[in-house]
C-alpha cells in the first residue's frame, strides 16, 4: 500500500510495464470499460447498501436524546457476509481519504516527508474508524416498532429506502409499485395508501429494491471469494503438476480428468444439498457453504491452464538460471514462473465470477441455496417464477443476473483480447 510508482526500481519493473500495456489495451476497448464501470458501480452499491436501504434512521431524536440507531444495528444480526461488507463500508472512505491525502501531500512537497504524512493521516484514520466503531456499539437499542413509528412521524433521518432486506411491511404484502391500498386507520376512517416501496414487495412484505441491493452483496461475495478459493487451489495444483512433472503430473492430471467428467453444476448441487443438512454446518450461513463448495470443485479449469503455462516455461533459460543459482523450488515457482503464467488464469477467473454468480442463483432458484430471509437474486427469481403475477420481482432480479453476468463476460473478453499479443495495436 505504501509503495508508490516513484519507489526504487525493483526487478519486477518489467512486470509493471507489462500490466501497463495490458491496461492500455483494455482502456481502448470501450465495451470492456463500460462493463468495468458497471461492475465498480455494483461494488459501490453493494458496499454501501445499508446507506441506501436500511430500516433504522441515521439520526433519531428519541426520548433519551439523540441516538444513532443505524450504526447501532449494523452488526446486530448473526454473523454473515454482511459484516464483512459493513466493515468495508466503514473503512473504505476514511481509508481512501488517507491514501489520497497522503499521496497528494507527499508528492513534491518537501515540508511533508513521507514518514510524517503516514503518521498524521494514520492518526486521523484511526480516529474516524474508532468513532464509527464506537457508534456501532454504544447507545440504547431502540425497539424496531418505535423506529418504524419515527419514520411515520418524520422524526429521524432515514436512508432513501427506509427498509432493510428483512424488514416486513404488513401493510403491503406482495404489492407492485404504485399500488394503492385501502385500509382503515385508528379512527375508523378509510384511507388510501400508495405503496411506498419503489419496486414493490414480496410475499413477506419485504422491499424488493432493498433486496436487490443486498442481493448484490451475496452475488459479489460468492463470485469473488468462491473464485479466489478455486484460483488459489488451481494455481497451486496446476503449478505443482506442470513444474514437477512425472508421477505428480500423472496423478493430478487423472484427478482433473475425473473431476471434468462430471457436470460441475451437478456436483455442486449434490454437495450443497448434502452439506446444508449436515449437523455441524447447521449454524453456518448457507452462503459460506455455497462459496466453499464452488471453491473446492471448480479448480480444474485453472489447474489445467496453469499446468500448460508451467510446462511451457519450465525449460526456459530464466528458469534454468534460477535453478543454477540454487533457488528453492517454491521461490522459482512463485517468483519466477508464476508472474509469467498467471495471465490466462486471470481471464478464466473473470469468466469464473460470472459462472459462480450463475451457480449461486441456480442453486437458490432450485431451493438448495440461500434461504428466504437472506436476499439473493436467484431466490428472488424463484419467487417470481412461482408467482408469475409478480412481475416486479421477476424482471428486476433476472435483469440484475443478466447484466452482471454480461458485464463479467464482456470484461473477461476484453481482458483476453488485451492479453493477446496478436491483437495488440
Amino acid at each position: 500500500m505504501s509503495s508508490t510508482p516513484t519507489s526504487t526500481p525493483q526487478p519486477d519493473t518489467r512486470d509493471l510495464e507489462y500490466w501497463q500495456i495490458v491496461w492500455g489495451q483494455l482502456r481502448r476497448n470501450r465495451q470492456a470499460m463500460v462493463a468495468l464501470v458497471f461492475i465498480l458501480v455494483l461494488f459501490v452499491l453493494a458496499i454501501f447498501a445499508p446507506v441506501l436501504a436500511h430500516d433504522a434512521p441515521f439520526v433519531y431524536d428519541g426520548e433519551n436524546g439523540t441516538e444513532f440507531p443505524w450504526f447501532r444495528q449494523l452488526f446486530l444480526f448473526e454473523f454473515q457476509h454482511d459484516h464483512f461488507f459493513n466493515c468495508l463500508m466503514l473503512l473504505l472512505l476514511p481509508g481512501l481519504a488517507v491514501l489520497w491525502g497522503g499521496w497528494r501531500l507527499s508528492a513534491g512537497n518537501a515540508d511533508w516527508p513521507r514518514g510524517r504524512v503516514v503518521v498524521w493521516w494514520g492518526v486521523g484514520f484511526l480516529g474516524v474508524v474508532t468513532t464509527l466503531a464506537l457508534l456501532t456499539r454504544i447507545g440504547p437499542l431502540t425497539p424496531q416498532s418505535e423506529l418504524e413509528r419515527s419514520f411515520v412521524l418524520e422524526k429521524g433521518v432515514f436512508p432513501p429506502i427506509p427498509y432493510s432486506f428483512r424488514t416486513r411491511d404488513a401493510d403491503f404484502v406482495s404489492e407492485g409499485p404504485g399500488v394503492e391500498v385501502t385500509t382503515i386507520d385508528q379512527e375508523g376512517n378509510e384511507i388510501i395508501l400508495v405503496n411506498p416501496h419503489w419496486l414493490g414487495t414480496d410475499a413477506g412484505g419485504r422491499d424488493v429494491a432493498a433486496r436487490l441491493l443486498y442481493g448484490a452483496r451475496v452475488a459479489l461475495t460468492i463470485g469473488f471469494i468462491g473464485v479466489a478459493i478455486y484460483v488459489a487451489i488451481g494455481v497451486l495444483i496446476g503449478a505443482c503438476a506442470g513444474y514437477f512433472g512425472g508421477w505428480v503430473d500423472i496423478l493430478i492430471s487423472r484427478l482433473v480428468e475425473i473431476m471434468i467428467t462430471f457436470p460441475s453444476f451437478f456436483l455442486i448441487l449434490v454437495l450443497v444439498g448434502v452439506l446444508r443438512e449436515h449437523e455441524d454446518l447447521r449454524n453456518v450461513p448457507k452462503i459460506f457453504v455455497i462459496m466453499f463448495v464452488i471453491g473446492f470443485t471448480s479448480w480444474t479449469g485453472v489447474a489445467r491452464l496453469i499446468r500448460g503455462e508451467f510446462l511451457k516455461f519450465r525449460g526456459r533459460e530464466f528458469v534454468l538460471a534460477a535453478r543454477a543459482l540454487g533457488l528453492s523450488n517454491a521461490r522459482i515457482i512463485l517468483r519466477h514462473i508464476l508472474p509469467n503464467a498467471i495471465a490466462p488464469a486471470l481471464v478464466s477467473a473473470t469468466f469464473g465470477v460470472a459462472g459462480a454468480i450463475l451457480t449461486e442463483s441456480g442453486l437458490s432458484f432450485l431451493g438448495v441455496g440461500i434461504d428466504a430471509p437472506a436476499a439473493s437474486w436467484g431466490q428472488m427469481v424463484k419467487v417470481g417464477y412461482e408467482n408469475y403475477e409478480w412481475w416486479w420481482i421477476l424482471w428486476p432480479s433476472t435483469a440484475m443476473i443478466f447484466l452482471t453476468v454480461t458485464a463479467y463476460n464482456i470484461l473477461g473478453e476484453g481482458l483476453r483480447d488485451a492479453l493477446d499479443p496478436h491483437l495488440r495495436e
Binding site: R254, L255, E257, I258, M259, I260, T261, F262, P263, S264, F265, F266, L267, L269, V270, L271, G273, V274, L275, E277, H278, E279, A354, L358, S361, G362, F365, L366, V368, V381, G384, Y385, Y388, E389, W391, L394, T398, I401, F402, V405, T406, N409, I410
Partner: protein, 509 residues
C-alpha cells in the same frame, strides 16, 4: 483404430472408479440415513414391524457397514466391550442396571416398565452426555420387551451398535463369562447371543441362578468348538478393512451391473429401471438440441466469416453475445413467463411433456405426437440456445482463421467456385475444433438440464437427481452419477473418434 477404442473403453472403468469414489464420499457426508428418514413417515405400522423392517433394510443397503474403511479387525475391542458391560452394570447410572437385573430375574415387568419411563422422562434424550446415552442405549438391549413400546429409538441404536461391533467382541465377552460379578455374567450371555445373532428372547427372560449357570456352561462349550472362527489372521483383517465396507460392496454390485434398489419409501424400485425411465426423456431433449446446436451454429459460423464486418454480421454477433450472456435458466424463465403464463401470451403449454391426462386420453396417435412435439418446443429452445451461442462463436472464429489461410487463396486461384472453396476447403478444417467441443457440451447440458427440467416440470434425469437429493435417496443419486459419468465418457470417446474422421492427419494406430 479398434485397439485404440478398446484401450479407451478399458480406461472408462478406471475413471469410473474415481468418479464413484468421490461421489460416494460426498454423498455419505450427509447425516442420518435414508432408512431413518423413511422410518418417520412409516405410520400405521407397529414399532416392532418397523424395527424389523429397518434392520433388514440396513442390511440390504449395507448401511450397517462403515463407508470406506472397516477398521474393526484392527481395533482392540476388549476395552470397548468392557466399557459397554461396565456401563450397564453401572457405576454411572445405578438405577438402570437395577432395572436390567430385575428384568433378568423375571421380576414384575410392569414395575420395571414404569421405572424405565421415569428414567426416560428424567433424562432428556437430547441432553444426555455420552456415557449416560451409552448406558441408556445398551440398557435398551435388555429392555427389549418394553423398548418397542417405550424407547424404540434407543432400542434400535443399541441393537445396531452391538451388531456393528459384531463378532469382533465375542472373545472379550467370553472372558467375561468367568466374572465374579453375577450381573456381569448375565449381560455377557445376552450380549454373546446378540453378537452371534442367536438371540432368543425366551432363553433370556427371567434368568435365575440355575438357568444362568446353564447358560454360561452352554456358551463355554460353544466357545470350545467355535473359537477358531473368531480368531482372524492379518490377511482376513485386511480383507475386512477394505472389503466389508459400503463402498466395496457397492462396487461389487456395480460390477454385476446392479445399481441397487431405490431407498425411497414405498417405492423400492430398481434404480436402473428408474434411471432408464427418466433417461429416455432427457435423451430425447439432449439429442434433438445437440443436433439443432450443430446444424444452426455451423451455418452461422460460415455466414459470419463470409460476411465479416458487415452490418448484418455485427447485429448477428451482438445477438449471439446477448444469448451467450443470458443464462439458460433465466432465459427459460423469461420464455415461460412470456409465452406460457398469460403475461402477455399463453399459447404455449406450461408443464410437462404431454397435455393433462384428461385431454391426452382422447387423442389419437397423430394428435399425441403433435402434442408431444408442441410441449418439446420451449424446453428445446432453451436447451439449444445456450450451446448455440457459445458454439457459433467458436465456429465463427474457426472459420475466420481458416479463411485467411494460404490454401484458401490457392483454391480460389485454381478457379474453384466460392461455394466449393468455403464449404469444401474451409469448413472441413474449421469443423475440427467444433468436434472436440462436443465433449465439453455434454456435461454442461446434463448439468444445465437440472434447472431447465425443474422449470418446465419435465421428469428427466435432472428431475430425478433433484428429487433424490431432497429425499436422501443415496442409491438413486449414485446411480444417476454413475450413468452420467458413463455417458460423458462415451461422449468424449465419440468426439475423439469423430476428430479422426474429420481430420485425416489424425490416426489412432
Amino acid at each position: 483404430m479398434w485397439t485404440y477404442i478398446l484401450k479407451r473403453l478399458l480406461l472408462i472403468p478406471i475413471t469410473l472408479f474415481g468418479v464413484t469414489l468421490i461421489n460416494f464420499v460426498v454423498i455419505h457426508m450427509a447425516p442420518g440415513s435414508p432408512i431413518d428418514k423413511g422410518m418417520g413417515s412409516g405410520q400405521g405400522f407397529s414399532p416392532g414391524d418397523i424395527q424389523q423392517d429397518t434392520d433388514e433394510l440396513r442390511k440390504q443397503f449395507h448401511l450397517d457397514k462403515p463407508v470406506l474403511f472397516n477398521p474393526n479387525g484392527f481395533l482392540d475391542h476388549r476395552e470397548k466391550t468392557l466399557r459397554l458391560v461396565r456401563i450397564i452394570l453401572s457405576h454411572d447410572e445405578p438405577r438402570l442396571s437395577e432395572v436390567i437385573v430385575s428384568l433378568r430375574k423375571g421380576e414384575s415387568q410392569v414395575e420395571a416398565l414404569s421405572q424405565v419411563e421415569a428414567l426416560g422422562e428424567e433424562w432428556e434424550i437430547a441432553n444426555l452426555d455420552d456415557t449416560a446415552r451409552g448406558a441408556l442405549e445398551e440398557g435398551g438391549v435388555a429392555l427389549e420387551t418394553f423398548a418397542r413400546s417405550t424407547t424404540k429409538l434407543i432400542y434400535a441404536t443399541a441393537i445396531r451398535r452391538l451388531r456393528d461391533l459384531g463378532s469382533w467382541s465375542v472373545p472379550t465377552l467370553v472372558q467375561r463369562l468367568d466374572s465374579d460379578d453375577r450381573n456381569e455374567r448375565i449381560v455377557a450371555t445376552s450380549f454373546l447371543a446378540l453378537a452371534t445373532k442367536r438371540y432368543d428372547q425366551k432363553a433370556h427372560e427371567g434368568v435365575n441362578e440355575e438357568r444362568l449357570t446353564e447358560l454360561v456352561a452352554g456358551w463355554k462349550s460353544w466357545w470350545q468348538s467355535h473359537q477358531y472362527e473368531y480368531q482372524y489372521g492379518w490377511f482376513r483383517k485386511l480383507g475386512v478393512f477394505f472389503g466389508e465396507t459400503q463402498y466395496a460392496l457397492y462396487l461389487w454390485d456395480l460390477m454385476h451391473l446392479d445399481l441397487g434398489l431405490s431407498t425411497e419409501t414405498g417405492q423400492r424400485e430398481p434404480v436402473f429401471d428408474r434411471i432408464l425411465r427418466h433417461l429416455q426423456v432427457s435423451l430425447v431433449l439432449m439429442v434433438i438440441s445437440t443436433i439443432l446446436v450443430y446444424t444452426i451454429a455451423i451455418p452461422i459460423g460460415i455466414f459470419s466469416a463470409v460476411q465479416h464486418r458487415t452490418l448484418t454480421e455485427q447485429a448477428l454477433s451482438l445477438f449471439l453475445f446477448v444469448l451467450y450472456s443470458l443464462p439458460s435458466f433465466v432465459g427459460a424463465i423469461i420464455l415461460r413467463h412470456l409465452f406460457a403464463t398469460g403475461h402477455p401470451w399463453d399459447f404455449m403449454p406450461v408443464d410437462g411433456l404431454t397435455s393433462p391426462d384428461a385431454e391426452w386420453m382422447w387423442m389419437n396417435a397423430l394428435e399425441r405426437v403433435g402434442d408431444y412435439l408442441w410441449h418439446l418446443v420451449l424446453p428445446i429452445v432453451c436447451l439449444t440456445y445456450g450451446g448455440l451461442a457459445s458454439l457459433s462463436r467458436y465456429a465463427r472464429t474457426g472459420m475466420l482463421e481458416v479463411i485467411r489461410q494460404d490454401y484458401m487463396r490457392t483454391a480460389r486461384a485454381k478457379g474453384l467456385s466460392e461455394r466449393v472453396v468455403i464449404l469444401k476447403h474451409g469448413l472441413r478444417n474449421a469443423l475440427i475444433p467444433l468436434i472436440t467441443l462436443f465433449a465439453n457440451l455434454l456435461p454442461i447440458m446434463v448439468g444445465g438440464s437440472v434447472i431447465l427440467e425443474h422449470i418446465f416440470s419435465i421428469q428427466g434425469m435432472g428431475y430425478l437427481s433433484l428429487q433424490s437429493i431432497f429425499k436422501n435417496d443415496y442409491t438413486t443419486l449414485m446411480g444417476v452419477m454413475v450413468i452420467t459419468a458413463i455417458l460423458v465418457q462415451l461422449g468424449i470417446l465419440l468426439s475423439d473418434l469423430l476428430y479422426a474422421v474429420a481430420d485425416p492427419r489424425i490416426t489412432y494406430d
